[in-house]
């Protein structure tokens, strides 16, 4: 995979490059400040872009703005956004442009090498990757019907919201795929959600429910 990395902190940038290259991917270009991001992406047309939310010069949400802007130039570009802290509002803004090929992770997750690479590949393939912390924040907001779910079902719901597909959920929870399908069926029934299998649409449905 060809990757563009936008990160101003040298330590983290180097860690990301090392990590992705160890998995056989190629970092074709890096950007170190806000204004550079979109031109670099447009020039190199990577398979996926990894963008830090907080970049110079304003150190507020330059990266997030650039990510949304890049989508106007390259509508299908998969983008994985990294943040020092998790903010629901950012996740919502990012997902407003569509959950396809979109990821929002805490920088801390980079250290979980397996999970990070998984998320990166999932996003590049058009799926979704939401940080577990974001999901749990969103889950915490909604009371009521969520309480009707069993603990196992809540786990499955969280993993669905993070963007994992059924086989991945089954691997994570160490159960069979059939069990996962049963759980997702129950969840959709209890929450009165339209049943859908395909990745990002499912995530959107779950998120839309949790956001409401």
């Amino acid at each position: 995979m060809r990757i563009v990395i936008a990160e101003d902190n040298a330590l983290l940038r180097e860690g990301l490059v090392m990590l992705t290259e160890s998995a056989g991917h190629e970092v074709v270009a890096t950007a170190v400040n806000g204004p550079e991001i979109v031109p670099t992406i447009v020039r190199h047309r990577p398979d996926v872009a990894v963008i830090d939310v907080r970049m110079p010069p304003s150190y507020s949400d330059e990266g997030l703005r650039a990510a949304i802007d890049a989508r106007t130039h390259l509508p299908d570009l998969p983008i994985l956004v990294l943040s020092q802290y998790v903010e629901q509002a950012f996740a919502r803004e990012l997902l407003a442009a569509g959950a396809q090929g979109t990821g929002y992770l805490l920088k801390d997750r980079i250290g979980r090498v397996e999970e990070f690479l998984d998320a990166l590949e999932r996003v590049a393939a058009g799926g979704t990757a939401l940080d577990p912390d974001v999901v749990s924040q969103l889950m915490g907001r909604r009371r009521g019907p969520l309480d009707t779910l069993t603990p196992r079902e809540r786990e499955v719901l969280e993993l669905m919201a993070q963007g994992l597909d059924n086989p991945a959920i089954a691997r994570r929870l160490v159960v069979t795929e059939r069990a996962v399908t049963k759980h997702t069926g129950n969840i959709f029934r209890k929450l009165a959600l339209p049943h859908t299998d395909s990745g990002h649409r499912r995530v959107l449905a779950v998120l839309a429910y949790m956001n409401a």
Binding site: L11, L12, G15, L19, D108
Partner: protein, 405 residues
């Protein structure tokens, strides 16, 4: 007796010195009423008055008991300024003073000055009265027309004048001075509102400084410590993956991770020190300054007042940072061979910190944020920092902060 004469002479000289403000005051008196009628011109009309009053305040201020300006700050608009000056009690007190001082002082001075030659004139009257027609001169309001009067009355008059000079004039001079001070001094109300204004401003500055400090800590932790830890985590994760397939690749990754952990710990120590140096709680201010001094590459003489009591933590931290920054700057830019650090409590409840070095001087605040940061820290605690650094003559950094009592 001689001390009395000396006192009388000093009092007369003081009254003469007062003419430098009382004569202009007299002049102003004629013009000011005209201008006061035209209200819009009030601020301009009061300007010369305030200038003269300010001159008098400067004359009357003694070290340790200064006479501050009592005027309210004027709003921007011309009409607002006119109204503010008109309703300011200090304006009317100034005008009272103008009348009293302009007229009263001038007249008193003229009389006092005239008394001196008058004594002489009276004493010598017996010598020349006969040369002129009888009744030309008067003594004690009685026309002198015969020798009996000439020999007694002038003498009595001279005695009266002398008595006034020796006993009344010093008191008079003192009284005039006191009344001047009383009228020119700010009222308690004015002084209090001035103080409130100043405190409001310093409080706003303190809040801003505190905010900047918090943001700095947040940035340091995120960009420094978090980035390091994530980087370590990545290396260990990769090493873990490599252990089974390619163990040789794992070793350098693990080594890097361990080095990075040392860096993180050093970072954390620096951040903690920037918040509150631990040595301050362990050894107190004088112990911490001693530690700073011995850590320099040149001898530093430390003089921390032994009577210095334990101060609140922010004050001690600020004092510590002033000294640390000053010594760091000296090492970095000035190349000194010696330095002194002095910390003492001044009588007015101020903590004084002086760092002096004999380096090359020429300290330029605009070139680095170290001094500016310290200045803001001190200002947040209601203090002041002065830097005196002539090129070639070493640098002296002085900080003063109120420390209560």
């Amino acid at each position: 007796m001689t001390s009395r004469i000396r006192r009388a002479r000093d009092a007369t000289m003081a009254m003469l010195a007062g003419l430098q403000t009382s004569l202009p005051a007299l002049g102003c008196l004629a013009l000011v009423p005209l201008l006061l009628v035209l209200v819009p011109l009030v601020p301009d009309a009061m300007r010369p008055v305030r200038a003269i009053a300010g001159r008098e305040r400067a004359r009357r201020s003694e070290a340790g008991d200064p006479l501050p300006r009592p005027y309210r700050p004027a709003p921007e608009s011309h009409r607002g300024a006119a109204w503010s000056v008109l309703t300011d009690p200090a304006t009317w007190r100034d005008l009272c003073w103008l009348v009293l001082h302009g007229v009263g002082w001038t007249c008193s001075t003229l009389i006092v000055v005239a008394l001196w030659p008058a004594v002489l004139v009276s004493l010598t009257m017996p010598a020349y009265w006969s040369l002129f027609p009888a009744g030309t001169f008067t003594a004690l309001l009685v026309p002198v027309s015969n020798w009996a009067q000439a020999l007694t009355l002038p003498f009595l008059q001279a005695s009266l004048y002398a008595a006034l000079l020796l006993f009344a004039v010093p008191g008079l001079s003192l009284w005039w001075g006191r009344s001047s001070r009383a009228l020119l001094r700010p009222t308690t109300g004015a002084a209090l509102s001035e103080e409130v204004l100043r405190l409001t401003q310093t409080r706003a500055e303190a809040l801003e400084s505190h905010g900047a400090e918090l943001r700095r800590i947040e940035r340091d932790l995120h960009d420094g410590v978090q980035a390091h830890l994530v980087s370590i985590s990545v290396r260990l994760g990769l090493a873990d993956r490599a252990l089974s397939s390619d163990p040789d690749r794992a070793q350098p990754l693990i080594q890097d991770a361990r080095t990075a952990i040392e860096d993180v710990l050093a970072d954390l120590r620096a951040i903690v020190r920037g918040i509150y140096p631990p040595i301050l709680s362990d050894r107190g201010l004088s112990g911490a300054i001693d530690a700073l001094a011995t850590a320099q590459g040149f001898p530093v003489a430390v003089d921390v007042a032994s009577s210095l009591r334990r101060l609140p933590a922010p004050l001690e931290a600020a004092a510590y940072f002033v000294v640390a920054e000053a010594l760091t700057n000296a090492t970095k830019h000035a190349n000194p061979t010696r330095a002194t650090v002095r910390i003492a409590e001044e009588p007015a409840g101020q903590l004084l910190i002086v760092v002096k070095d004999n380096g090359c001087g020429g300290a330029d605040e605009s070139r680095g944020s170290g001094l500016t940061g310290i200045r803001r820290r001190i200002a947040a605690l209601d203090g002041r920092l002065t830097v005196d650094s002539p090129v070639g003559h070493g640098t002296t950094i002085e900080a003063r902060m109120p420390c209560g009592s």
